[in-house]
Symmetry: C2
Subunit: 362 residues, 2 copies
């Protein structure tokens, strides 16, 4: 029997939840929803699916220290820091190398660290079915999310014919990948049915990923060869990664592998899911007052509705006469923006960066 592994991708640049999130403290390290960091929630959610020693976390250099603090119950060697970001294909290649060094026949799930899922039972059942499929057949299993709105921020996968059933769950062939669509197109998908969101959750075997890399992304495959060699010889990984990473192509796993493969299958998720993409998404996870205001800390809203107001460290944030406003106060920086503009924080952070000494707030 092949061993099962889980590789949690804990990256991200910490922009969308600024000022709570920062380069060294991105979303997955924060209790954006709930009371523990989203990474800790992700670790708790997979508990029992695989042995603890079979859980890896791939993160970035700037965040590694904080990630280790959250992952204290994992073996230290299982937390691997990429020296610089090289998009998801490189991370998947690194994951395959890490898992392959333990079990060349292993199957592994790639899971983002910063999503919110409440139904842990359904989540684990889906992953078990996906593991079974990936262990039995040379496929790339994507766990697809049934769309609840015509979102333009996700890639879509069109389901093809039913393929097989594992652990009581039907899997489908993937017919087509679509990158983030325009609103009108997304609306058509929703109306047509049969589309799922690509949420970055994949289950596959080391051999399937290895073969795909060799065939479809040879530069990446060759670039990661020294990493595999170091792992095989039990050498220290950090210096090898530092040398190898700058040369790796920067490309997403969707572009590099999935869109070009004919062995992708879709398992429609049976659990609730939210990627909590920006501040306004936090509202639906928080308790609101009668006027729809969601607050945390010492926050007061007078004559206003549907505001999101967070205050840290005993500071008071008092909001008067505004609706649909996001006000996030932290120890050294405060954000004020309408909910409808929260997706544009990047432009704001460019302005912050341009301030004298502005990097201190990033």
């Amino acid at each position: 029997m092949p061993q099962k592994f889980i590789v949690i991708i804990a990256g991200g640049r910490g922009e969308r939840f600024w000022p709570q999130s920062r380069t060294a403290r991105p979303k997955h390290l924060l209790p954006i929803v709930g009371t523990t960091p989203l990474l800790a929630q992700t670790l708790a959610r997979v508990k029992g699916l695989v042995p603890v020693k079979n859980i890896f976390v791939i993160t970035g250099a700037a965040q590694a220290k904080a990630v280790r603090a959250v992952c204290r119950n994992l073996p230290a060697a299982n937390i691997v820091a990429e020296p610089l970001g090289r998009d998801t294909a490189a991370a998947v290649g690194l994951a395959a190398a890490l898992v392959g060094a333990r079990d060349a026949l292993g199957v592994f799930a790639v899971l983002p660290a910063d999503h919110v899922v409440r139904d842990t039972g359904a989540y684990q059942a889906d992953l078990r079915a996906a593991f079974a499929a990936a262990a039995a057949e040379p496929v790339m299993v994507t766990i697809g999310i049934t769309p609840t709105e015509p979102a333009t921020g996700f890639g879509y996968i069109q389901r093809g014919a039913a393929w097989k059933i594992f652990a009581g769950q039907a899997l489908y062939r993937a017919k087509r990948f679509v990158e983030k669509p325009a609103l009108a197109v997304a609306e058509q998908y929703l109306a047509a049915g049969g589309y799922v969101w690509n949420a970055g959750m994949f289950v596959w075997s080391v051999s399937v990923v290895g073969a795909a890399l060799a065939r479809l992304a040879p530069e990446l495959d060759v670039g990661l060869a020294p990493v595999r060699a170091a792992l095989a010889r039990g050498r220290s990984l950090a210096p090898v990664l530092k040398k190898a990473y700058p040369k790796l192509p920067k490309i997403s796993v969707d572009y590099a592998l999935l869109e070009k493969s004919d062995n992708v299958v879709v398992l429609p998720a049976s659990f609730d899911w939210d990627d909590v993409g920006a501040w306004p998404a936090v509202v639906k996870h928080g308790a609101s007052d009668a006027a729809g205001n969601v607050t945390r800390g010492f926050a007061v809203v007078e004559q206003g509705k549907n505001n999101l107001v967070f205050a840290e460290g005993g500071h008071l944030v008092a909001v008067l006469g505004t609706d649909d406003l996001v006000v996030i106060h932290t120890a050294d920086a405060t954000l004020v923006c309408p909910k409808g503009r929260a997706q544009e924080i990047k432009a704001l952070l460019k302005r912050v960066e341009a301030l004298k000494g502005g990097a201190r707030w990033l």
Copy 2:
């Protein structure tokens, strides 16, 4: 020749400029406009008009310490703290007592501490003319502000016939006092002409005020008798005030004296004037960027116009995609409100007060 005195009224509850202003640190103690407290600006503005020893400041108990710090060049005895607020008639009565103890024939100006005036030359020229009138005739001189808009936050005085000329300035009889009018009424006044704002600036003699108090506000006059006695005997003032003040009627000088007197004259101000009534009024005194944003401290506005954004103590306030918003950050509290709602801070502060331990922010 009667001596001239100036009595600066430095009171107020510090609500309209919350959270910068607080009970113990109201508007006149803050550099709301400019770089020094408005009280310091007022002191600088009257410099040379009267000897320093002839300048009094009347303030409240909670603010006295901070007021003394601003008024270091005045004799300590000239800063008098009211044990509790009893409106402006009591303060004027106290002022008359203080001045009368120095010179029973003295004339004195009552001036608010928290207005903004840039043309010091014109301001002093007007006060000199008012002093001359009050020294020569038994009148109550009010310095009236020519309205620039149909403001509903001030009382209006209708000018009557030209009365006399002092120091080259024409003074007019006061025909009628009108309390804060409705907008339509204020608009009529502006269209009609001949109305000025009552800005709380008065010049008169001790004897005129004393006679008016005795005739029109005998309770106040009797209530302040122990204060005059203590001053005459060189006794310590604080215990006498503490005993006398709670019994004084709480009434404005406009109601108590001016509206009922037939010896009120108006000197139309020849200087610029702004009482800077609330946060939005600060905008016209600050340098703005191309989009009309006025900022202080580390403040960034991206894609927004006509915002007022203050940040204290190295904290960054970043505003994205809002117009006409007031964001005031201080060390322990932050206010967010549209400019059009800034007059309603009182309601907000009631909510703050209701918080557990909320008094700490007032």
